[in-house]
């Protein structure tokens, strides 16, 4: 049984183009006649929807179509000519060019536009569908229906269906019109909405059906806008999360305020750049440069962090204001050093291919790939930090030292080493933030300064010493920023958020996720 059906299918598939070719060859001779015959023939060829007609009509338009003495039509191909009907090479000696007049030219334009629907190039087919969507005439309906049956690329097919709906809307068939209205409503695009509004004026009888469709489009559009805003907010939030995670460790857990944190982020971004430059010389490594730069950036900034803690910060424990000023100075020195070493101009870090471009989710929500990956990266890093603090020996010692330094020391923990490790860990996280930022922001010496204040706000807002608070704080700030942006502007949105945080701290001075019990006392 299945075999039989398959056979039928194969037969039909073979038969379909064969029949079209018959009509195609039948329409060809008209091109060798007078202007009236040529124009009629062009119209027929255009409405047949046969891909073979395309080179013939193009040659006619370019004035390179030749008419042999025996009435055969010759189309240029490469350096020679081929017979338009059979596709066999032919001798063009003695053949004269087919001439055009204005009527033929006009027919040609329409025919070529419609014929592009069957072009072998998917982009050309899509463009043709869009052109029909804009020009739309009732006689395009059968052509589009034929093209849709043949279309295999979903995006092009969707465009054709939209064009079909637009064409049906101007056709006289009442039921087709209703179908078209419904289909346009489901398409949920701005163009479809404009089309429906236009149709509403000319078809008073269908006003209610059209209104329903318009309302449905408005719902889809506002949902899509909301979803895209949410995505942008989460993406900004995950950038803040990455920048703030390191602070959550150094400031939140250790209580050391490191104003050079933003510069560590910047160093991480430059480490990414260096790895990329190194990988450029080694071809088989090049695709992996971004993955390689993750450990590289972590190690570079962690080493800087360890050096800073052992060399300078540990002398200032218990004097937070002095630590703040001192680390600010260190940040200044780092920034100037990088500026002298790499120059003040931006360095370009190229995103790998799998991070470029836009992804369209179901429902037409467009998300940029690199921002999507940053969200994923942020969540992975958060999970790793959580695991490191909760599940490892290092995390246990770290928490022990924070809770009670003296008792931890009497239990044999080398508190100085733990301090250095913790600070290095937090600084390394800043380096990871730098890797992420290098993908969406300019890599320049003052990369970190733009994020440092926001990251501190995240930590203060979320609650010092709480990873959950950092996550919720970062995402909230990100989303609120993006929600406010459309009607307040990016700058005022930021100002609002800062003011809101200050007012929020009035109610809950310890942040969203305040530590309770003994840990809160210290």
């Amino acid at each position: 049984m299945t075999r039989f059906i398959l056979r039928i299918a194969v037969f039909l598939l073979l038969a379909l183009p064969a029949r079209a070719q018959d009509a195609f060859t039948g329409a060809l001779p008209g091109l060798a006649g007078g202007f009236g015959e040529i124009a009629a023939s062009v119209e027929r060829l255009g409405s047949l929807g046969d891909p073979r007609a395309l080179p013939v009509l193009r040659a006619l338009q370019d004035g390179t179509l030749r008419k042999a003495a025996d009435g055969r039509l010759l189309v240029p191909q490469g350096t020679g000519f081929v017979d338009a009907a059979t596709g066999q090479p032919a001798d063009a000696a003695g053949a004269e060019a087919v001439r055009l007049n204005n009527r033929v030219r006009q027919a040609l334009r329409g025919a070529l536009g419609r014929l592009q629907l069957v072009s072998p190039d998917a982009a050309e087919r899509g463009a043709a569908a869009e052109a029909i969507f804009r020009s739309r005439g009732a006689d395009d309906v059968p052509l589009l229906q034929a093209a849709i049956r043949r279309e295999a690329v979903p995006e092009v097919r969707a465009k054709m269906e939209l064009a079909l709906a637009a064409a049906q809307l101007v056709a006289s068939d009442e039921s087709a019109k209703r179908e078209a209205v419904a289909r346009l409503g489901a398409a949920g695009t701005v163009e479809a909405r404009a089309l429906l509004l236009e149709a509403r004026a000319t078809n008073p009888g269908m006003a209610t059906a059209i209104d329903v469709s318009i309302a449905s489009i408005d719902r889809t559009l506002s949902f899509r806008r909301a979803a895209e805003t949410l995505f942008q907010g989460l993406s900004l939030g995950s950038v803040l999360l990455l920048a703030a995670l390191g602070l959550a460790v150094t400031f939140g857990v250790m209580g050391v305020i490191n104003m050079a944190h933003g510069e560590f982020v910047m160093l991480g971004a430059y480490a990414t750049y260096m790895v990329q430059e190194f990988c450029r010389g080694v071809p088989w490594l090049a695709p992996w440069s971004l993955l390689l730069s993750v450990p590289a950036a972590f190690l570079v900034t962690a080493a800087c962090g360890a050096a800073l803690e052992r060399g300078l910060i540990r002398h200032l424990y218990g004097r937070p204001l002095e630590t703040l000023l001192m680390t600010f100075g260190v940040g200044m020195i780092l920034q100037q050093a990088v500026r002298l070493a790499f120059g003040a101009q931006n360095r370009e870090v190229i995103s790998p291919a799998w991070m470029q471009g836009t992804l369209t989710l179901p429902g037409g929500i467009a998300v940029t790939q690199n921002r999507l990956w940053i969200i994923v990266f942020g969540l992975i890093v958060l999970a790793l930090v959580f695991a490191a603090i909760r599940l490892t020996r290092f995390g246990l010692e770290m928490r022990a030292v924070v809770q009670n330094r003296r008792i931890a020391a009497t239990m044999g923990i080398r508190t100085g080493r733990v301090d250095a490790m913790t600070f290095a860990f937090g600084s390394g996280l800043a380096g990871l933030a730098g890797v992420a930022l290098s993908q969406i922001d300019n890599v320049s010496p003052n990369l970190g300064t733009g994020y440092i204040i926001d990251s501190f706000m995240v930590v203060v807002f979320g609650g010092v010493g709480s990873l959950a608070g950092t996550l919720v704080g970062a995402m909230t700030l990100g989303v609120v920023n993006k929600v406010l942006e459309p009607w307040a502007g990016a700058v005022l949105a930021k100002v609002f958020v800062l003011v809101a945080i200050m007012l929020f701290i009035q109610r809950r001075p310890k942040g969203l996720f305040a530590l309770k019990g003994r840990a809160a006392e210290s």
């Binding site: 200032l316 937070p320 630590t323 100075g329 501190f456 203060v460 800062l498 701290i505 009035q506």
Partner: protein
């Protein structure tokens, strides 16, 4: 927190020495504009550049004094004092813009050039009154004071102290910088105000105007030192130091800590605003860059270098760091940020009492 600091006022002969040194310094400074009038070939001639830059430094010294009052005595490390300074500058800048009148590029009788350019029809309401000098000076104190009152009230009431307060004030100046960069704020956006013509009927950029502004700044400096010294020696000053060293204890002893801190913070902001108001006519420009967090923290380091909690230290720090900056930025511009960063590190690690601490150690 900072129990290692010296008592605020050195006693006995030390205090007398400081007074004499200060008096000498003021007299020396007061001579500068006069020496500027000597013929250029005279050995004692002082160039225009020296006069104008010293005048600028005096306003910096007032800002440093304001920071020292809040930080050195009450333990409020504000990283947003640059914002109060800049607000004062904007207030006088608005006055100077109004005085340009029809002499602007567009020749509009009332609107400043940037407003004509942006298509304003009328003066925004908050620009009204700025054509009067006393009103502008009042605003140069009132606006920073009001901002400090609001921020301070919110912060001190919920007992935000230490680094948290520093971060909040830094966020404040950052937010203001972003806001002032906007064109539709009505403050000239990116470019701020410049091209001033005159102040109090006296054309700017003349030797007379320079000297007048110089003396005004010097007078304000002397007045601020006297006021600050008066406050810090009073009972109020002792309570402030107590708050700095043990805030909870002072609160439990029955003092209203919030009000004390608020008073000193607002006073300090007003002082900074006045300093800004004297600064802008001397440099001839004010733009949102003055709000940048870096400026505020640089002013804090002047105080740290000089020695906080001493008043004299603030002056010493403001003059010496800025002298270093002027010298280094002409000799080796690339090195200045290294030097400034190095100052932050060196002072906090090796000189917690600043330059003044160095002297008092050697003399006693």
């Amino acid at each position: 927190m900072s129990a290692t600091l010296a008592s605020p006022a050195p006693a006995g002969t030390g205090r007398l020495t400081i007074r004499l040194v200060l008096l000498g310094a003021v007299l020396l400074l007061a001579l500068l504009p006069a020496l500027n009038r000597l013929p250029a070939d005279s050995a004692l001639h002082v160039s225009d550049f020296i006069v104008s830059i010293t005048g600028k430094w005096i306003t910096y010294a007032i800002l440093a004094l304001a920071i020292d009052l809040a930080w050195g005595y009450a333990g409020i490390l504000s990283l947003g004092h640059g914002a109060f300074f800049a607000l004062g500058g904007y207030a006088i800048g608005m006055h100077l813009m109004r005085l340009i009148g029809p002499r602007g590029v567009y020749g509009h009788p009332t609107l400043p050039d940037f407003m004509v350019f942006l298509g304003y029809k009328d003066l925004p309401w908050y620009w009204l009154g700025f054509e009067h000098f006393p009103y502008a000076i009042l605003m140069a104190m009132a606006v920073p004071g009001a901002l400090a009152a609001v921020v301070g009230y919110l912060a001190f009431r919920s007992r935000i102290t230490g680094v948290y307060l520093s971060i909040i004030t830094q966020a404040m100046t950052y937010a203001l910088m972003l806001a002032f960069f906007r064109n539709d704020m009505g403050f000239g956006g990116n470019n701020g105000f410049t091209d001033f013509k005159e102040l109090l009927g006296m054309p700017l950029n003349t030797a007379n105007a320079r000297a007048a502004l110089f003396y005004a700044s010097l007078a304000l400096l002397v007045a601020s030192v006297l006021i600050c010294a008066r406050i810090t020696r009073s009972k109020l000053g002792r309570v402030l130091v107590a708050i700095r060293d043990a805030e909870s204890r002072v609160r439990f002893l029955g003092y209203d800590v919030t009000r004390h801190k608020l008073f000193v913070f607002v006073l300090s902001a007003m002082l900074a605003g006045l300093a800004g108001a004297l600064y802008v006519p001397q440099v001839g420009i004010i733009n949102p860059g003055e709000f940048s967090p870096g400026n505020s923290i640089e002013a804090v380091i002047w105080v740290a270098v000089g020695g906080r909690g001493t008043l004299v230290g603030a002056l010493l720090g403001a003059f010496s760091v800025n002298a270093l900056k002027t010298w280094l930025t002409t000799v080796a511009p690339d090195l200045w940020l290294f030097a400034l960063g190095g100052l932050f590190v060196a002072v906090t690690l090796f000189l917690p009492r600043g330059l003044v601490g160095l002297f008092s150690k050697t003399t006693t």
